[in-house]
């Protein structure tokens, strides 16, 4: 709470000097943004004297989490389809609009209740939720963009056989070649061709997903643990199913370890097999979600302080952070692909 008192003192101070010392205030506003921690709840007295609650934590959580509606901006809502399965009703499909009344309050529909994005039955029977949520919609959008782009790229290759690439083909060819020659080939070795389709799909799915996620109003799709979880599980299965003798003997019969150490080393090795996909899953989830949280927190500062100075400062910083996020989007896609290739490379390695 002391932080809050300090800050409100700061605000008064700032208000007093607001129009006399503009430059100094701009610097202060930037400093405030830099020093601020996110996820703080503030009650700020508005000009009218009424208290207005603005809960940043709730707002940020609402954004980075999945939802059954797509709120593009405040008030502009797209209601997404709800797909439910329960033993008494079977498969049920309806719009999520039915869960809201005119006052935008959550109301039960057909015996189903939507509460905190969780759907349950009023009679307590368990229900499976396969709704097209905001993130599912963005998985579709990502998939659609990928198909659209790469079928066009493939068409280019069919058209210009043996010729120089043209159009969208020449835009993606260097990236495809980069992934093939700089990421996949050095990590996996000669048998890289079997894994190249998966790794290219992985890279572009994550990259496009990250970039789509940076569009204002878009969902935090690649920053969702379920999405990264599926990708990590895919990597886990591909890695272990293509594991050769060397790979398994390294786990169950670690070379250079005395026999009495084996019982300790074996669990460590098995944990190692599991931590690889878990690290992939968590790394992508955390970096993308963190980026979204930082951007949202900085934007929220404007609403906490009710000051155009802070607004200016946070806008500058948010712009910079967004540029960094563009970089992060690419780096995370690269890193995920890189590590997946490395793990596959370790698995298919024949000898030391």
């Amino acid at each position: 709470m002391s932080g809050y008192i300090e800050k409100s003192g700061y605000i008064e101070n700032m208000r007093a000097n607001e129009y006399t010392n503009t430059y100094k205030n701009l610097i202060y506003s930037v400093l405030i943004c830099l020093l601020s921690v996110f996820n703080i709840q503030e009650t700020v007295a508005s000009d009218g004297g009424e208290t207005e609650k603005f809960n940043i934590g709730e707002m940020i959580n609402h954004h980075i989490k999945d939802s059954h509606v797509w709120e593009i901006t405040h008030g502009v809502v797209i209601h997404l389809p709800i797909i439910l399965y329960s033993a008494p009703d079977g498969l049920v499909v309806f719009s999520s609009e039915n869960f809201f009344n005119e006052g935008h309050q959550e109301v039960p529909y057909m015996g189903y209740v939507l509460e905190h994005e969780h759907i349950s039955r009023q009679d307590g029977v368990s229900v499976l939720d396969f709704s097209i949520t905001k993130n599912v919609l963005f998985i579709f959008i990502d998939a659609f963009i990928m198909l659209f782009v790469f079928l066009a790229v493939a068409k280019g290759y069919r058209k210009n056989i043996g010729k120089a690439p043209k159009g969208i083909q020449s835009l993606f060819e260097p990236i495809i070649i980069f992934i093939r020659d700089e990421v996949v080939k050095p990590s996996i070795g000669e048998k890289y061709q079997r894994y190249l389709p998966y790794l290219l799909t992985l890279f572009f799915f994550i990259w496009f997903g990250n970039l789509i996620g940076l569009v204002p109003g878009a969902a935090n799709m690649t920053g969702n643990i379920a999405v990264t979880c599926v990708l990590a599980i895919a990597t886990f299965f591909i890695t272990n199913l293509s594991g050769k003798k060397t790979y398994w003997s390294h786990i169950f019969n670690t070379p250079g370890v005395p026999w009495w150490l084996r019982p300790i080393i074996l669990p460590v090795e098995i944990i190692g097999v599991l931590t690889k996909p878990v690290s992939l899953m968590v790394r992508l989830f955390v970096s993308i979600t963190a980026g979204h949280i930082v951007v949202l927190s900085l934007i929220s500062l404007t609403f906490i302080f009710h000051s155009w100075m802070v607004g200016f400062g946070s806008t500058v910083i948010v712009t910079l952070i967004t540029i960094i996020e563009l970089l992060v989007a690419t780096i995370q896609a690269y890193v995920f692909t890189m590590f997946t290739s490395l793990y596959i490379g370790m698995a298919v390695e024949e000898h030391h």
Binding site: D66, D129, V136, I139, L147, Y157, R158, G162, P197, T201
Partner: protein, 164 residues
């Protein structure tokens, strides 16, 4: 905390969509694209190699041409030299022949002159003898009485004849 718990609905959709995208892209995009890339790379490599070969071939041809030219030049020089030698020989031969012919002509001339001379001499001798006979006739006719005078006269005539 529920941020860290994957939702099964999302897991299901992500699995389905990602698998479909992976299959479609693998069959219709990555396979033809990587193959096209490989063929093109092979083609480029081949082109570079064949260009290199062509360059070497050209260098060889150039060297060959140079050699042919050099040979031709040497041949020309040889031919010129031979022609000169032949010409010289012809000249020398012609000179020799001319000399021989000239010698022969000289010899012929000399022998002709000789024969002419001999003819002339015999003519002169005939003339002399006829003249002597005439003179003797004259003398006999004029003075056959005076011995001394006869003798002197004969001597005088003989002397004259000897000179001739």
């Amino acid at each position: 905390m529920d941020l860290l718990i994957p939702e099964y609905g999302l897991l299901f959709w992500q699995l389905v969509v990602f698998s479909i995208v992976l299959i479609i892209l693998a069959v219709f995009v990555w396979k033809p694209v990587t193959e096209a890339l490989r063929t093109r790379e092979a083609m480029i490599e081949d082109s570079i190699k064949s260009a290199e070969l062509a360059r070497e071939e050209m260098l060889k041809i150039k060297a060959d041409n140079e050699n042919v030219l050099k040979e031709a030049r040497a041949q020309r020089d040889q031919l010129l030299k031979d022609a000169m030698a032949v010409a010289n020989k012809i000249k020398e031969d012609a000179k020799g022949e001319t000399a021989i012919i000239a010698g022969k002509m000289m010899a012929d001339a000399k022998s002709a002159i000789e024969s002419e001379k001999n003819a002339a001499l015999s003519e002169v001798k005939n003339l002399v003898s006829s003249l002597s006979l005439e003179i003797a006739e004259k003398i006999i006719r004029e003075k056959l009485s005076d011995n001394k005078a006869q003798r002197d006269l004969v001597e005088k005539f003989v002397k004259e004849a000897k000179i001739n």
